[in-house]
Subunit: 404 residues, 2 copies
């Protein structure tokens, strides 16, 4: 899992050789990634694989986690939502707390690296508390189509000090921002516990352990319980599907260290699905073991992704890789992954009937479903594996450190 | 909160000057602390204050967090319990997982420091994956009176490579272990949000926000929901007290990133206290905001600490500092803090009647209760403030780095 050579057979030798070549001008450089959490969410998963591979190809690459209080993470969760367009009361208290946590963290975090890569808004403000002596790069994983204006202006005060921004879609590029901007699509590690091929016996064991009965088709959404993932909408779609075909709905959700909102939303969905939950037709499964999530994604008949906003949406990539057909909203990075009707289905987030119709179609046509699943895997193999992302990072480092 | 000079008035100028002097031979040294979590538990709280103060006195002191999977933390939680005497099935799978996580973490954690300080068992094994080029110190916060023999032997393979062990009680010293052992009693930061003086209006605001009614006396245990904290025993004691005096019981608990057991135990207590919970006489309050915990400790009439095993027990120290009388088990570091009848009461963990009797006595005798509370604060001021601990760490660093 931590050696590039293990990707032989999945990725061509030419591609692997290219990666080793790009690393040569970076031997012995000392880089650090810094984000808000080790657990939960796609960013942490990408970083784990990426950081190990960067070390493997000869770059001393560290990974640090911001220290923050519960209050701080409550606040930055609001920042996150507001960057995706939600309202926020950007009080002085919130700004002060944001600055204080970043300032305190800087006091015990000594950065003498050749490049500092900051992920997402939580540690963005750190840059204010250092005398810059290396390039700083801000890697933003969030949908920036329409960020809250006042918050964006507050964050710009930090962003301007960065050497480069990395964004997940060209749609998020900001023309008015006089900072270099680079596109980098996220990716998955096909060898991780979350994505590797599993024997049927393992899958069955985990499905059973999770308490998921196997007598009916299973529709699953794998996501944090977050308003942008629209779990209530998923429930509505499921009700419509269930009128035609008896099946089950699984909410497979993560609890992340910086996600205090999850509990509240689960209660909300539980109230709306009371009867279905009692009958065992709607299930909540905590996806805190990667093999469990892997098993559920492989065992499900259809994966639904009814987000109203997304950065890129790795949950879709993971499902595509596993040849499970996906019915998803055409938001954020999802249309970059799914071509409607070819390797999955794309719908407007509000089109509940459309979602239900496509899911029913897939459940009723297993052969068609299989073909679509296979196309999904091809897409990921071509464009969304971690080796491609590693290569992108090496390009970026060569640009900001070596100027080429 | 991050400057030693802010302790003037609480700590004498002589003591502060001593600390500045001890730091002089350590100027510019680069030290790192490494533990399992930033959030939850006394270790993280101590480290936050300690690390900021160490930087303030001139030592470049970093703080890193081990990266582990849920599986890993489930396993190390079992290690933790087994070190305190619980049984464990020390399978090859558990050992392999422990080694794998430590090995992977070492690949992206580049330690070129002058001293590495490892906290608790989770990252203890890291040392195997480095070519040692500096002193390594293991700071163990756990009750080691009777560690599980097989696990202890497994861990000894790592411990032997360390230059020094720091333990919280002389009772935990291991004569047969050919490694330097040092006593360091933990401490609290009197200026932190958790411990600082609060205006009555703030306390009331937080008590109200937490949903704690103020019409009856309040007995509180502040602890993780962990079998060693014996929440079921607390409930039994409370029932006996309630036969004599109408009052309420508050379980103020932390949820820590590495504590998957909490939820299970809460369910257990909830079943046993069903009627009392419905009446509002037993309350669960998540103490995830430091000011909230501070408020509850200050507002409670009695703090109970019915642990059957403890490392040191900072929850007791915090209560003593706030002049709230404490009735506690005489285990672990608690008898090092409480002198029975003088600044609190000590009981055998199984003595339910004794616990109830002392609590009733304190509730019935507010003047006596006040005197005992004041004695508690004196004890902490003399021996358990973070400035004393900082001084101990400087001594340790002067010993292992400078040989004096």
């Amino acid at each position: 899992m931590s050696r590039l050579e293990e990707f032989r057979g999945i990725v061509s030798d030419d591609r692997l050789a290219e990666i080793y070549q790009r690393a040569r001008k970076l031997y012995g450089k000392h880089i650090v990634h810094l984000n808000a959490t080790y657990q939960g969410g796609g960013v942490a998963e990408i970083l784990y694989s990426l950081v190990l591979l960067m070390n493997d190809v000869g770059i001393d690459t560290g990974w640090r986690i911001l220290h923050g209080s519960q209050d701080f993470f409550d606040t930055t969760k609001k920042f996150h939502n507001a960057l995706q367009g939600a309202p926020i009361n950007l009080s002085k208290r919130k700004k002060d707390l944001y600055l204080e946590v970043n300032n305190n963290f800087s006091e015990f975090t000594h950065l003498d690296h050749d490049c500092v890569i900051i992920h997402d808004p939580q540690p963005l403000g750190l840059i204010r508390y250092y005398r810059k002596s290396q390039p700083w790069v801000w890697r933003c994983h969030i949908d920036l189509t329409k960020p809250h204006a006042e918050l964006w202006d507050f964050l710009k005060g930090f962003i301007l000090k960065y050497d480069e921004l990395i964004l997940s879609s060209e749609k998020y590029f900001k023309e008015e921002l006089p900072v270099e901007q680079r596109l980098m699509l996220p990716a998955i590690n096909p060898l991780s516990l979350k994505n590797k091929l599993l024997p049927d016996s393992t899958i069955k064991k985990y499905i059973e352990k999770a308490g998921i009965p196997t007598d009916k088709p299973i529709i699953t959404q794998v996501s944090r319980l977050d308003p942008w993932k629209d779990p209530l909408g998923v429930l509505e779609v499921f009700k419509r599907v269930k009128e035609k075909i008896d099946c089950r709905l699984v909410f497979c959700y993560n609890i992340a260290g910086d996600d205090p909102e999850g509990v509240r939303i689960q209660r909300l969905v539980e109230r709306k699905a009371k009867n279905l939950i009692e009958k065992g037709d709607v299930l909540f499964v905590i996806g805190n073991h990667e093999i469990l999530v892997n098993s559920i994604q492989r065992f499900s008949d259809v994966i639904i992704q009814k987000s109203t906003k997304e950065g890129f949406c790795l949950a879709v990539t993971e499902a595509l890789w596993k040849e499970t057909p996906v019915v998803a909203s055409n938001v954020g990075g999802i249309p970059a992954q799914i071509e409607d009707g070819k390797n999955g289905y794309l719908l407007k987030p509000k089109d509940l009937d459309g979602f239900a119709e496509k899911i029913i179609y897939l459940l009723k046509n297993p052969e068609e479903s299989k073909i679509i699943g296979k196309e999904g895997k091809k897409t990921v193999k071509k464009r969304f594996l971690i080796t491609r992302l590693l290569s992108d990072y090496l390009d970026m480092l060569n640009a900001v450190i070596n100027g080429n």
